[in-house]
Structure formats: structure tokens, C-alpha cells
């Protein structure tokens, strides 16, 4: 008797919904064991987390505040992953987007009319993110340099550069040594919708719908999907893979840059420490759990944000480390990754002699 994985003809619909849900439940169970082992009531902790994230209107707006960058960066990552381009540089692209937006907001107000200062800052942020994703895209498309490693390395170049700016040459001389730039002029503040939740939420929803439309309804989206699913077929169809990699990555970087630009113009109103707190990495989990579906990205981002905000709340209310939220985020992925196999493969138990059951097992996509 042998057990083999057999490739499903089509990705299992029910499994692709069930796996993330079950994974989330398993992560809560694992988290509960950890909490219980450290002498805390898991139920009380989870209730406090849920209350902290969704229990009141102000709490919910704070969850939205954290969800917005996760939504935008999650969309950024998902479009690159869609073509099997492992962009793990969203963190750096986000940071550089924030830097560029801060540059416009701080230094361009003398020659840019106040009415368009904010749009210019946001567009420059998107351009900077696109540039930062464009470098590894060009290296991959034309020199075949591995993108996982280049995008990862560029994160730290961007983060260190932003530190150099807010600790050094851009530091506010009136800031009492606080590491950060001077506040932006109000013309460069992104309007807020409710609480601290800002217009970035609208950008994220528009971006998700646009991406969904591009992927499902346009020729370009079709090309991107083919490149990701079957590069050989793409080549036979005459699709220009190199050009598409660069274009898709410019879009991906622009979305991550938009996330950074919205953070500085919508929340902190200055460039300061705390812009890089791992949104770009969490976005990878978001994109993965959402199975690269743009609309699902919005919902998963909200869920991930609720874990972060909930974690902050249990720290305040129960004196538990706020890292609880991060632990749960990390725990979700283990069952999620293990379960992904079942959406593409089914288990088959073969009782007869091996030679009588010709079963092809194909390599799962990397």
C-alpha cells in the first residue's frame, strides 16, 4: 500500500476557502496552548483582542489604520507572485515610497502650488516604489538574476537610507533630538475619513478592484496569468515575458510605494522611525492567505491588522506582551502552507501493486 499525491485537474474550490479558515482556527488553538502554558486565560485574551480590534467604532478605525498599508502592500506582492516573481521587497519599496513623499512634502512646497502638493507627493512615492521594484525586475528580466535575493537585499538598503535621512540630514533641528523630520505642511496631509483612518483606504479598494479587473478581463492580465502558470506556453504564444515582468513589477512597486506615501502623509505627517515595522513582510502572508485574489487581500489584511491592534490592546489591558498578535500571525502560516498542498493535490491510497496503478505525480509549483 502506498500513499501518493495526485494532481487535481483544477484547484479545489472548497479546499481553497476551507484551508485558510481551518488554518486560522488551528493558529488560535496553538496560540491558546501557548497562552495557557504561560498561565493566562486564552479565552479572556482572545475576547480582549477581538474587543480591542472590533469592539467599538474608534477601535475599528485603528484596525483600518493598520489594514491600509497591509492591503496596498498585499496587493503589490500578489501581482508579482501571480507571475511567480517572488518580490519580497515590498518593505523596502514601501519605505522608499514614504521617503519620496516626505521629500516632496518637506522641500517642494516653495515651487509646487499647495493644492497639488499632496497629489505630487503621492505620485512621487509611487514612482520611488516602482523604481525600487524596477531594479530587481530588470535584473531578473534581462540578466536572470534571482529576484528573491535581490528584492530581499534592497529592503535593507532602503531602510538604512531612510534612517540616514531622519537621524541625519533631514532631522528636525527643533525636534529635541527626536529622530524624525519636521512635520509636513498641512497641504501635504492626506484627508482622514474616520478617526485616523485616511483616504488610503479608498485607494486600496480602488486598486483591488482595478487589479481584479486587469487580471480577469484584460489581455494584459491574461498574459500575466499565463506567464505565472506556464512560462513555456507563454513563450509559444509569443508573449514578451521580460517586458511583462518589468511592467508588472513597476505596478507592484508603485502600490507598495503608495502604501508608504499614505503612511507618512496620512498618519505620522513626518518621516520618522516606525515606518518600517514589517508591513511589507506581513503583506506576503496576506497575499498568500488570500491566494493572490485582490478582493480577498482586502479581507485578509483586515484580519491581520486586527491581530496587531488586538495584540496592542492585550498589552494595555492584560499586561501581556503585544507580540501575541505577531505570534498568531506566524502560527497561521504553518497549517496554511501545509494545507495548500490539498488545494492542488489529493491524497490517494493505492492498495494494488505499484505497476498496476500508473499515477503521475507532478512537481508542485515552487
Amino acid at each position: 500500500m502506498r500513499i501518493v499525491f495526485e494532481k487535481r485537474e483544477a484547484v479545489s474550490r472548497s479546499a481553497s476557502v476551507l484551508v485558510p479558515v481551518v488554518s486560522f482556527v488551528i493558529s488560535l488553538v496553538l496560540g491558546a496552548i501557548l497562552l495557557w502554558a504561560s498561565g493566562v486565560s486564552p479565552a479572556a485574551t482572545y475576547v480582549a483582542m477581538a474587543r480591542g480590534a472590533f469592539g467599538s467604532w474608534p477601535a475599528f478605525t485603528e484596525t483600518l489604520v493598520k489594514a491600509i498599508p497591509l492591503m496596498l502592500a498585499g496587493l503589490a506582492v500578489s501581482i508579482a507572485f501571480r507571475m511567480q516573481f517572488w518580490n519580497i521587497g515590498a518593505e523596502g519599496q514601501l519605505v522608499l515610497g514614504g521617503v519620496a513623499a516626505a521629500w516632496v512634502a518637506l522641500f517642494w512646497s516653495n515651487f509646487v502650488p499647495a493644492q497639488i502638493l499632496l497629489p505630487v507627493a503621492i505620485i512621487m512615492g509611487m514612482a520611488a516604489g516602482a523604481l525600487w521594484a524596477g531594479i530587481p525586475a530588470l535584473l531578473k528580466a534581462y540578466l536572470r538574476v534571482d529576484e528573491t535575493l535581490t528584492t530581499l537585499m534592497l529592503n535593507y538598503v532602503a531602510i538604512l537610507y531612510s534612517q540616514y535621512l531622519y537621524y541625519g540630514s533631514w532631522r528636525d533641528p527643533k525636534g529635541y533630538g527626536f529622530p524624525g523630520t519636521a512635520p509636513f505642511p498641512e497641504a501635504a496631509w492626506l484627508p482622514r475619513l474616520a478617526g485616523r483612518a485616511h483616504l488610503g483606504l479608498v485607494f486600496a479598494v480602488i486598486a483591488a478592484v482595478l487589479l481584479w479587473f486587469i487580471l480577469k478581463r484584460t489581455r494584459w492580465g491574461f498574459e500575466l496569468r499565463i506567464i505565472g502558470e506556464n512560462p513555456t506556453a507563454a513563450r509559444y504564444l509569443g508573449i514578451n515575458i521580460a517586458r511583462n515582468i518589468v511592467l508588472a513589477l513597476l505596478l507592484s512597486g508603485a502600490l507598495a510605494g503608495l502604501a508608504g506615501a499614505c503612511e507618512v502623509t496620512g498618519i505620522s505627517h513626518r518621516l520618522q522611525q516606525g515606518l518600517s515595522i514589517g508591513y511589507g513582510f506581513t503583506a506576503i502572508i496576506v497575499a498568500w492567505m488570500a491566494q493572490l485574489n485582490p478582493i480577498a487581500v482586502l479581507l485578509v489584511a483586515l484580519l491581520m491588522a486586527s491581530l496587531l491592534v488586538g495584540g496592542d490592546q492585550v498589552q494595555i489591558m492584560m499586561h501581556l506582551p503585544s507580540a501575541v498578535g505577531q505570534v498568531l500571525q506566524g502560527l497561521i502560516l504553518v497549517p496554511m502552507l501545509a494545507g495548500a498542498l490539498f488545494t492542488e493535490y489529493r491524497l490517494r491510497i493505492i492498495r494494488s501493486r505499484p505497476s498496476q496503478a500508473p499515477v503521475r505525480a507532478e512537481e508542485v509549483r515552487p
Partner: protein, 315 residues
Amino acid sequence: MIALITSILAITVRAGTSLIYAAIGETYTERSGILNLGVEGMMLMGAVTAFAVSFHTHNLVLALAVAVAVGALMAAVHAFLTVTMRANQVVSGLSLTILGTGLSSFLGQRLGPDGGPLVGLVGAKFDPIVIPGLSRIPVVQALFQQDILTYAVYLLVPLAWFVLYRTRLGLDLRATGENPQTADAMGVNVAATRYAYTILGGALAGLGGAHLSLAYTPGWTENLTGGRGWIVIALVIFAMWNPARAVLGALLFGGINAVQFRLQAAGARIPAAFLNMLPYIATIAVLVVMTWWEALSKRVGAPAALGKAYMREEK
């Protein structure tokens, strides 16, 4: 001047030790075809658990054993997901880093006395041992006033190089990462090899983390590793998957850290941020040159099957 060089060298070696442990582990893991981006999380978990054990028991051997076991356990999860379940290696590794970062921070707040924080406490630690005689040779003496974990590295590096390039074990390992089909045909158990070296890599990452919390900067603070796990990933590529070259890289990257304080003190105008960028930029440059070289059909670089799941063809 000699005294200055000696002291910079001594700090460089000390700073490089944790990097070398983790980099040798990651080199072996990647050589088997598994990319493990969870190094940062495993180093953090190794650091926090080692320090917690050293604080409560004052038993350094036990502290090291726990750090090694914790690193190995996390790597076993990575191996299970990527080898058995054929999950995406990038996503699995990253999630382990996120988990390790969160969990180490959580444990750092709870593993102290009476369920309190570990931050600011003092436990047993590894002190430098000065080797008589050798420690009187100018400059070289810097190598012989280190802690025992650093001395162990002096033995580990040639051993790691020898096993990889001069033994049957190393040949099987390299074959597994280069061409799993051929390795399989040669009679190598691809899955078992990948499990073994991924777990070994995690164990060494845990040990590297333990060096930080028990010797380099004894004690625990949140995010103690400060991104060293990512430097290790860069380092392995920079060294082109060669354990001996990884040492040079670790000393270079560790040295940048050590030198920058001296440079600042000497009034140099290069901001620290730009010095700290160097490892990452150098790594990208190495990647580009290496890929370009490979295009000219010279095999120098990454294990060809790195990052790819292997599924045995069933007939």
C-alpha cells in the same frame, strides 16, 4: 597603530562568530536545495531560550543545548513544510521569521522570574579565555583572547569545508542541491538529506543566537539579533555557498560594524547607514556578476535546484 589593529580584529572576530555559525548552517541547508529565510527567527529563538536557561540554571552547556534544540525544531517545521508538504520555501521561511520574532519577544517578557521579563537580567555567560603564549604574538593575539564558542568556530570552519568538498557525504549533499534527480539515481535519499541539512542549519542558527545572548552581548533585549539573520542570508550568497569564503565575508561584515565606531571617533564623514548598506549592496553585486558568469557557462554559483521542491517521479 598595532594596538588599534589588534583591537579592531578582536572585536571583528567576536562580532563575526554568530554570523559564521549561522552562515555555515545556512550554506549547508542551501546546498541541499532548501532556502531557509527563517534564520533571523531561529537566531532570536536560540538567543532568548539560551539566555533564559542560563539565567535560571547557570548551566551554560544546557543553555547551548536548548538553543540548538529550539533552532533545530523550527528548522524541522520548515523541512516538513517544504520537503514533505512541498510548500513555498520563501513563504515558509518568512513565516518562521515572523513567528520567531513574535515568540522571542513574547518569551522575553514571560520567562523571567515569576513570569516577568528577562530584559536587564544577568545570567551565566561565556568569558574570554586568554591562551598563554599565543596571546603575546602581535596582532594575531586578537584571535586568542576569545570565548570558547569562537574557538570552536576555528575548528568548525575547516571541518565544514572538508566535509563539503572532500567527503562522500559532501558529494551527496552537493548533488542533492544541484540535481536531485541524479542524486536520487545515485541512491541518495533526497528527502532525508534535505531534512537533515535543514535541521542542521537551524541548529547552527540557534547556536549563533546563543553566542549573542551568552557571549557577545550577554543578556536579552527585544530583537537582540538586529537583523543579523538577514546578513547571514546575504553572506551565504556573497560567499557563493562556500563555508571558507563565508568566514571572510563574516569578518568583512562583522568588521564593518566594528570599524564604524572607530571611524566615527576618528571624525570620518561617512554616515554609519552607508557603511551598513555595504553588505547588502556587495551581495547584489556578487549575485549579478555570478549570474553573468554562469551565462558564460562557468558553474560557480547557486545550487541549481535551490528553492525547488523535489517530487519523485512515480512510474
